[in-house]
């Protein structure tokens, strides 16, 4: 051991974020002082992002079982069987802080990292979905971040040949200093190729392949991901990893060929904390140990310190465990794909991660004269890492100050205050959060792979499974506006909405992944938000019968301007047994009957309408009945399988009116509808209460559909028919004509817009918000040249 130097004298300890308490704990566990290298290894592995030291006790409460589950949390990503010997592999990850510092590179590297989680298990990555959150789109910095992040995620995925099929783009001022870049990756696995992220078999070799190891991303996990943000700090730029999609593409092909040919015993991607994490996790999972031959690690620059080599987060690297007899074949495959590979260690049976310089022999023992720089129990770095029971405290004051000029009372009767509800609808469609996403989707390749049936602007995307009748359906959503007021409800709503988005296609939701983006866990109020969200996530998943198969937690989403909205990003995958039975949102045929399934409950808090109207209505959050949500989703799957649905659309952002407008815009068809409204028409028209869908059917199928809905104890209202080129919603009931006329108000008693006007508002929203009118000019003329 070369641990003669006093670790406390090392500036490293502070730089890597270890506290005095943690240092004491390390000394207790080792029964000695750690060496400088060991200290660095603990520093990164005990960082929040690697160890989940604050979140682990709560994450254990999540439901993880299920009949389709092949592998749950613990591997790199969740694996769910879809029959025919196939399984879907999926996970949500974030790259928030790197994207704030170097938006294009940071976001790109995020895509690379999550893809490695997928193919490390033997699955071919088949899709990504992006959950992007930014500040005010009018700010020049936001515009720059949006453009660069979109370029980063879109460009990387396109180059590695994985389609970007959906996601969401949300603007809220709280994300101004700390954008969120969450990426969900989906892979398709032949089950017999499922590969363990473990290092079994003492005597096997550890082979590092892919890019060489450099100084990029040193301490990325601890420096960037585990601390709050200062202002735009160039000193953090060296902590950002630089992505090389071409290298990743070669890595994907080489890894899948190695797995397909049965050449590896285990495979592990390198991400946060680099080699340190890879070797300790892969050894700990197998109950073995690894001796790392430090000198054998290929480097891209001279003079790197041992700790730099061991914790570097250089992108596009993988670690394979291979039997000595297959080494030559493995090296041949790597050479064919021009991927550098080197034996960097040996599997041993002592449960330790040992780092040696000066050479090791065939048994993994240091050669004479070699020095052991670190020798740590693998478990102490990973499964047995330090855990904190953080104090949690509900915020005493949750009210936001009302916007200047906002109504003092919770008036949510906008249509009755003399405003034309059609004008309100056009205003909502013009909002950057609700308008067309074409500005983003045209910059991302959605069709490479030739499996994309429906790429989605909003809602779920559909990928056929080649060689079967089946299709995979995927969506990602977050309901952060509500989570800010009630994190339990916000997380549960996110699960409900995301699963509903999958179910409206007719697909059976299979499982959930999440990326929980929260503030500083050392602050009791932020930690309370996190705990509530985990509780909401768990309850919603249990009620809907969905396992949480994996995911990630990202704390410290704060900047000098404050904490971001607590954002539980949810991802759901589902399975369509017959792709021909898929149901899409656009209206299909004239004279189809339009129905609303589910009913509006009072509450406009957290809605786009409330934001538009400047109303602060915090006490009235929409309530969620999880049993009814489950019934609605069962109904959707049953109705689709009986081929009763001509179209189906989730009611979410912007409420029923926006949902109907989208059906009209996407189909080019109008509708003539009547809606019973209460005393508060805004609730029915623009409220975002959950567990509602708009469906259409042929007149012939109407009775069967009504019976099916009632059989699921759901409330159904026939709204009208698909017809013409206008969307007309007559308001009937207490809240409409009568009440308004009695007061003598000149109020529109119908919402009426041409589909062309709706489309115009919707198409212009995002480019206008980002100050990029040129995009529209190019799109609408067609001929640019």
């Amino acid at each position: 051991m070369s641990g003669s130097r006093d670790p406390l004298a090392e500036p490293l300890q502070g730089a890597l974020g270890l506290t005095q308490h943690e240092l004491d704990e390390i000394r207790d566990r080792l029964g000695r002082d750690p060496t400088p290298l060991e200290l660095a290894m603990f520093g990164v592995m005990w960082s929040e992002r690697c160890s989940h030291k604050s979140s682990r006790p709560l994450l254990r409460t999540l439901p993880t079982g299920g009949s389709a589950l092949v592998a749950g949390p613990g591997g790199d990503a969740g694996v769910l069987s879809i029959g025919d010997g196939l399984a879907v592999v999926f996970k949500l990850e974030s790259h928030n802080h790197p994207s704030a510092v170097a938006p294009c590179q940071g976001a790109a590297a995020g895509v690379g990292g999550i893809l490695r989680d997928i193919f490390a298990m033997g699955a071919r990555p088949i899709a990504v979905l992006d959950g992007l959150k930014f500040g005010d789109p009018a700010e020049p910095r936001t515009r720059h971040l949006v453009q660069e992040v979109v370029r980063g995620v879109g460009g990387y995925a396109s180059c590695v040949g994985v389609p970007t099929i959906g996601g969401e783009l949300v603007f809220h001022p709280s994300y101004g200093g700390n954008p969120l870049v969450n990426v969900m990756a989906v892979g398709l696995l032949e089950e017999h190729l499922l590969t363990r992220t473990a290092a079994p078999g003492p005597g096997n070799l550890a082979v590092l392949f892919g890019s060489t190891t450099g100084r990029d991303g040193i301490g990325g996990a601890s420096v960037l991901a585990s601390a709050s943000f200062g202002t735009d700090d160039p000193s953090k730029r060296p902590s950002v990893q630089v992505g090389d999609p071409f290298a990743e593409k070669l890595l994907i092909e080489a890894s899948l060929e190695l797995i397909g040919r049965g050449l590896v015993e285990g495979l592990q991607d390198l991400g946060m904390a680099g080699i340190t994490r890879a070797v300790s996790e892969i050894a700990d999972r197998a109950g073995t140990g690894i001796v790392v031959d430090l000198d054998a690690i290929p480097r891209r620059e001279e003079g790197m310190e041992p700790f730099e080599v061991m914790i570097s987060e250089s992108e596009e690297r993988m670690l394979a465990i291979v039997g000595p007899e297959r080494l030559e074949a493995l090296l041949e495959v790597c050479a064919r794909w021009a991927v550098p590979a080197a034996v960097i260690g040996r599997v041993v049976d002592d449960g330790s991660v040992t780092v040696v310089t000066g050479g090791v022999d065939a048994e993994g023992l240091p050669l004479p004269g070699a020095a052991t720089l670190a020798r740590l129990p693998a478990a102490a770095l990973t499964s047995g890492a330090i855990v904190y029971e953080r104090p949690a405290r509900a915020p005493t004051h949750r009210r936001q100050a009302p916007a200047p000029g906002a109504p003092a009372s919770a008036s949510d009767r906008l249509p009755e205050r003399g405003m034309d509800p059609g004008a309100v609808l056009l205003s909502l469609l013009s909002r950057p959060n609700l308008g067309s996403r074409a500005w983003v989707t045209t910059q991302c390749d959605a069709t490479v792979g030739a499996d994309t049936c429906e790429a989605s602007e909003r809602g779920a995307a559909i990928l056929r499974v080649r060689g079967t009748r089946k299709a995979l359906v995927a969506a990602t959503d977050a309901v952060a506006g509500v989570a800010a007021l009630d994190p339990y409800l916000g997380a549960a709503l996110g699960v409900a909405e995301c699963a509903r988005n999958v179910a409206v296609t007719g697909a059976r939701p299979l499982g959930v992944t999440s990326c929980l983006n929260f503030g500083n866990p050392e602050k009791p109020e932020a930690f309370w938000q996190f705990g509530e969200a985990v509780r909401g996530l768990g309850d919603a998943c249990r009620s809907l019968g969905l396992p949480v198969t994996g995911g990630s937690v990202r704390f410290y989403n704060e900047s000098p301007s404050g904490q971001t909205l607590p954002t539980p990003q949810i991802g759901v995958v589902g399975l369509l047994d017959d792709i021909d039975g898929r149901v899409l949102p656009p209206f299909r045929d004239a004279d189809d009957v339009v129905l609303l399934v589910g009913e509006a409950v009072p509450g406009l808090a957290g809605s786009e309408y409330a934001a538009l109207a400047g109303i602060v209505v915090e006490e009235r959050l929409p309530s969620l009945d999880l049993a009814r949500e489950a019934a609605l989703q069962r109904f959707l799957v049953a109705a689709a399988s009986e081929r009763l649905l001509a179209s189906a659309q989730d009611v979410s952002g912007g409420g029923l009116a926006v949902a109907l407008a989208e059906c009209a815009i996407w189909s080019g068809r109008g509708a003539s509808l009547s809606l019973r409204v209460s005393a508060e028409p805004a609730v029915e028209l623009f409220g975002e209460s959950p567990s509602r869908v708009v469906v259409t059917c042929t007149p012939r199928d109407l009775q069967r559909l009504l019976d099916l809905a009632r059989g699921h104890a759901l409330i159904v209202e026939v709204l009208g028919v698909v017809r013409g080129e206008r969307l007309t919603i007559r308001l009937v009931g207490a809240g409409a004509t009568g009440a308004a006329e009695e007061r003598g108000a000149s109020v529109a008693d119908a919402l009426e817009c041409t589909v062309a006007d709706l489309r115009h508002a919707w198409e212009h929203a995002l480019p206008r918000a980002l100050g990029d009118e040129a995009f529209l000019a190019a799109s609408t003329d067609g001929a640019v040249g």
């Binding site: 991302c444 490479v448 190019a778």
Partner: protein
């Protein structure tokens, strides 16, 4: 009909093109970039992607790949070659088809569903397409703006070498001069096309128009043995 699809490191449309060729009834296999051997294929497809990373300029490195020696010989002998997306960029860099592909006018990556007007149906690439029938298929690239000086464009059009043009209502998304989306070489046996017919080869993907391109090739190969080097009549 035997089809070979070249896998360059960085190709990402190779398996898609292989699948589409098989759907059209061809026998198809992947060819490796380092081996200058086409395994007796009648048609060579250079697929979409980012060959060798395309960090310098799209297609510029792939042009020097060993298999391009065989592709060049194949083309010189009147063999069929189809370059799709990145494959078109490679063919253009290799001077096997006319024109250069500049960065898109928008300076952004563009992914859109486009509509193509087919200028001629008397070529091996278009013979199965009913005259006047536009083709819908996706396009996805950062460098697809077709450029030639005006006089050369005039000559290209006069020689009937413009095979596909972007058509309304979607129009021209990359700024290509004269809306050119695809061209053929003077002999009529080598074609470069920026949009992706292999991604529109099945109705379940939103369009099966692209399959018509592959069917054309399979049918024309059945009529014209690969050993016969007969170019279509140039107008």
């Amino acid at each position: 009909m035997k089809v070979g699809v070249v896998t360059f490191p960085g190709s990402n449309g190779d398996r898609d093109a292989l699948h589409a060729a098989r759907l059209a009834g061809a026998e198809a296999e992947l060819l490796w970039h380092e081996t200058p051997d086409l395994h007796g294929c009648d048609l060579v497809i250079l697929p979409g992607g980012f060959a060798y990373g395309d960090y310098l300029r799209a297609g510029v490195l792939a042009r020097f790949s060993p298999i391009m020696i065989a592709v060049r010989d194949h083309a010189a002998a009147g063999g069929l070659v189809l370059g799709i997306g990145n494959g078109f960029q490679i063919l253009a860099e290799a001077r096997l088809v006319p024109g250069v592909l500049l960065r898109n006018r928008s300076l952004r990556f563009e992914h859109r569903m486009v509509r193509l007007a087919v200028e001629r149906t008397d070529t091996p690439f278009t013979s199965a397409i009913p005259p006047g029938r536009p083709l819908r298929m996706p396009l996805a690239h950062g460098e697809g703006c077709f450029y030639l000086p005006d006089d050369q464009l005039d000559a290209l059009e006069a020689a009937g070498q413009v095979l596909f043009r972007y058509a309304p209502p979607e129009g021209n998304p990359n700024g290509s001069l004269r809306d050119i989306a695809g061209v053929i070489a003077a002999g009529g046996r080598v074609c470069g096309l920026m949009p992706h017919p292999e991604r529109a080869a099945e109705a379940v993907l939103g369009s099966d128009d692209g399959l018509l391109v592959f069917r054309s090739l399979v049918e024309s190969a059945a009529m014209t043995p690969a050993t016969v080097t007969r170019a279509p009549t140039v107008r």
